[in-house]
């Protein structure tokens, strides 16, 4: 008996629907069809009147969720792909994100973004948009890397009174498996030490955690012990855990699948450089995707995103310094 990352997301929604009568799901094809990725499989049947197909209107989908949140419900909006959330961007960043600050009414809603690259998906079904949402005040942005986190963090997202952008990585949907779902978990806002080490800290999140772990394993025969920090949540960012790790290792490499300009990796380095400059033995480095749209062909795609080999190369250079 094992459960995938995708099944964990489905299970978390089933539990949320079962335990909280204020929860409903709204998104394209999420009803009888069960969603483009089957993340809502059978939920419409198990929870009649709680799972609603939406028209292809991302702006109106999010607006509807905001109105429902004002009335005290806890909507889960499924974007079919994170890329399409830009069509609902205005409602997320200007309506949902500003509501509490402007009116003192919390906007409890979860927007699920199936994000990140998979082979063959091309420029419009592969994007990583966590940084642009984290940029706006008023949003919580979560990026679970494990089956356990996908489950527990989605349940927590629904329970949070503020709008949550839940970035679930499509590459992990089917690959990642766990024996069982967790009964307890680290709270949202806490990073996790995915692997302990003493020579270099790799900060990563979502699918890049697994690339970082693979890189760390590759460096073991060379005698290096790499620490891998899984951010779990990019906003809020757990600066304390990052800083403590860098204090142990003196070297920081940040890895993100998103584009390089600005973004989560830049933010992590900025925090460490401003708050913990003295902890660094060598200049901090970062690895991101290339600054182009995400390519379709696997030959290009594999080189576009940082993978274990690129991380290993970057780590070696830093370790020799």
């Amino acid at each position: 008996m094992s459960i995938t990352y995708l099944e964990a997301i489905r299970e978390a929604q089933a539990v949320a629907l079962r335990d909280d009568p204020r929860v409903f799901i709204y998104g394209q094809d999420v009803g009888a069809f069960g969603g483009a990725f089957k993340a809502t499989k059978n939920l419409a049947r198990e929870f009649p009147g709680r799972v609603f197909d939406a028209p292809i209107s991302e702006d109106a989908m999010v607006g509807m969720a905001v109105g429902a949140a004002v009335e005290g419900l806890r909507p889960i909006v499924e974007m079919q792909f994170a890329d399409f959330s830009t069509a609902g961007f205005n409602q997320i960043v200007n309506q949902a994100a500003t509501l509490f600050w402007r009116t003192q009414v919390p906007c409890s809603m979860t927007v699920r973004l199936p994000f990140g690259g998979t082979s063959g998906s091309g420029p419009f079904h592969s994007q990583s948009l966590e940084a642009i949402y984290a940029h706006y005040p008023g949003l919580i942005v979560l990026t679970p890397a494990t089956v356990e986190d996908a489950y527990s963090m989605l349940l927590e997202a629904v329970a949070i009174d503020d709008p949550v952008i839940f970035c679930e990585h499509k590459f992990l949907y089917y690959h990642l498996k766990a024996e069982k779902l967790p009964s307890e978990a680290l709270p949202v806002g806490k990073a996790r030490i995915a692997r302990e080490g003493r020579d270099l800290t790799i900060v990563a999140y979502s699918a890049m955690v697994h690339e970082a772990l693979a890189a760390a394993a590759e460096l073991v025969p060379e005698g290096w012990e790499i620490e891998v920090v899984d951010l779990r949540s990019v906003k809020p960012l757990d600066t304390d855990t990052i800083m403590a790790s860098v204090a142990r290792t003196g070297r920081l490499l940040c890895v993100g699948e998103a584009w390089p300009w600005g973004g989560v990796t830049a933010e992590v380095i900025a925090r460490v450089a401003t708050e913990g400059f003295g902890l660094l033995d060598v200049p901090p480095q970062r690895l991101n995707a290339k600054d182009t749209p995400v390519p379709y062909h696997p030959n290009l795609w594999a080189a576009h995103r940082p993978a274990a080999r690129a991380i290993t190369d970057a780590a070696r250079k830093m370790l020799r310094l």
């Binding site: 409903f24 994100a97 009116t103 009414v105």
Partner: protein, 345 residues
């Protein structure tokens, strides 16, 4: 038409009969106009930070929305709904506190002028992005239906320019699919800021769009209070009774600039002298007098009463504390332990 208002019982029990309805409407319109005059004065005196956006010329339409709704309904007014806000139940105090940035107002200096509301009470606070409030009203109605509430209407307003947004299209289509009791009121005041109708849409009439969405349509002369009360009353009643979304398009002219910073020099003088350019407040006063529903002395007493009220509230708000950057809670989220922390020097 007056008879229709009575027969349809369109306006709920707050105003019994045509006479009282018109008197109530006129009083709100007059309050709104006098409040506008005061805001314009405060703006010119440098007492208001940011923009001031007036409702002159749109009071008859707006008040008819507010009066047709019940206080338990949902209302998302837009930029020129001063009269509708008052009729829906907003206090002059809320309005002035927001416009003058009082820390005690509903927006606490965090947002200003027309960006105010009390969402918990079904009175939504608009954002500036046009069309964005329509789907939020849909969501509030959807949620109420989800909770088993049946007797409800949600109304929101937009201009001719706002009908060109994608958000308008998505939300009206969504309301139609969900068969929500939405009343979407378009105030066609001929200009989107400075842009005339022929640069905003090419259909013969904005009501033609209703067919495409599968919703009911109503046209009304926005300068005529009696017509507005009748049409809005019927549209709201129809939505309440299960008739689905209602699109109301009113023709009128904005009798001021887009904001007080704008002299509106682009408005065609021929429009100003056309029937569209008539002042709905003046016309409404003439109706009251002609029908013997109010005397000229009474109209003047109301004016004096409202001026006194407004002056009193302005004086009160001027004594209220302003927001303080040092005591301000600089957090955009409600969950305390999830707040982002930045090291500051």
């Amino acid at each position: 038409m007056l008879q229709t208002v009575l027969e349809a019982e369109a306006v709920d029990g707050r105003a019994a009969g045509v006479r009282d309805l018109h008197r109530a409407a006129y009083r709100f319109m007059l309050q709104a106009r006098l409040l506008d005059d005061k805001l314009a004065g405060l703006y010119r005196a440098g007492k208001i930070h940011g923009g001031v956006f007036l409702s002159r010329g749109q009071e008859a339409l707006s008040v008819s929305i507010g009066l047709s709704l019940r206080r338990t309904d949902v209302f998302a007014p837009l930029i020129r709904d001063s009269a509708g806000r008052l009729a829906f139940g907003e206090s002059i105090l809320d309005s002035l506190q927001t416009c003058m940035g009082s820390a005690l107002g509903p927006m606490r200096g965090r947002d200003g002028n027309v960006h105010r509301g009390r969402p918990r009470e079904g009175y939504l606070a608009m954002i500036s992005h046009l069309g964005a409030m329509i789907s939020v009203v849909n969501g509030a109605l959807f949620a109420r239906r989800f909770k088993g509430i049946k007797d409800m209407v949600g109304a929101t307003c937009i201009g001719d320019g706002g009908t060109a947004t994608g958000a308008f299209h998505e939300a009206l289509n969504q309301a139609a699919i969900e068969k929500l009791p939405l009343v979407l009121v378009v105030a066609n005041n001929q200009y989107a800021y400075s842009t005339p109708n022929d640069r905003e849409f090419a259909c013969r009439d904005l009501t033609d769009r209703a067919v495409g969405y599968g919703v009911a349509a109503h046209s009304v002369d926005g300068t005529d209070l009696t017509a507005c009360l009748d049409v809005l009353g019927r549209a709201v009643a129809s939505a309440r009774q299960g008739g689905g979304p209602q699109l109301v398009v009113a023709s009128l002219l904005r009798l001021c600039g887009h904001g007080e910073h704008d002299d509106a020099g682009y408005i065609d003088p021929r429009l100003k002298s056309s029937p569209l350019g008539r002042d709905c407040l003046k016309l409404a006063g003439e109706i009251l007098l002609a029908q013997n529903w109010a005397s000229i002395e009474e109209l003047d007493e109301w004016r004096q009463e409202f001026i006194r009220t407004i002056e009193t509230v302005v004086a009160r708000v001027q004594r209220e504390p302003l927001p303080d950057a040092f005591t301000e809670n600089w957090s955009a989220i409600s969950v305390k332990n999830l707040r982002e922390t930045y090291d500051e020097i």
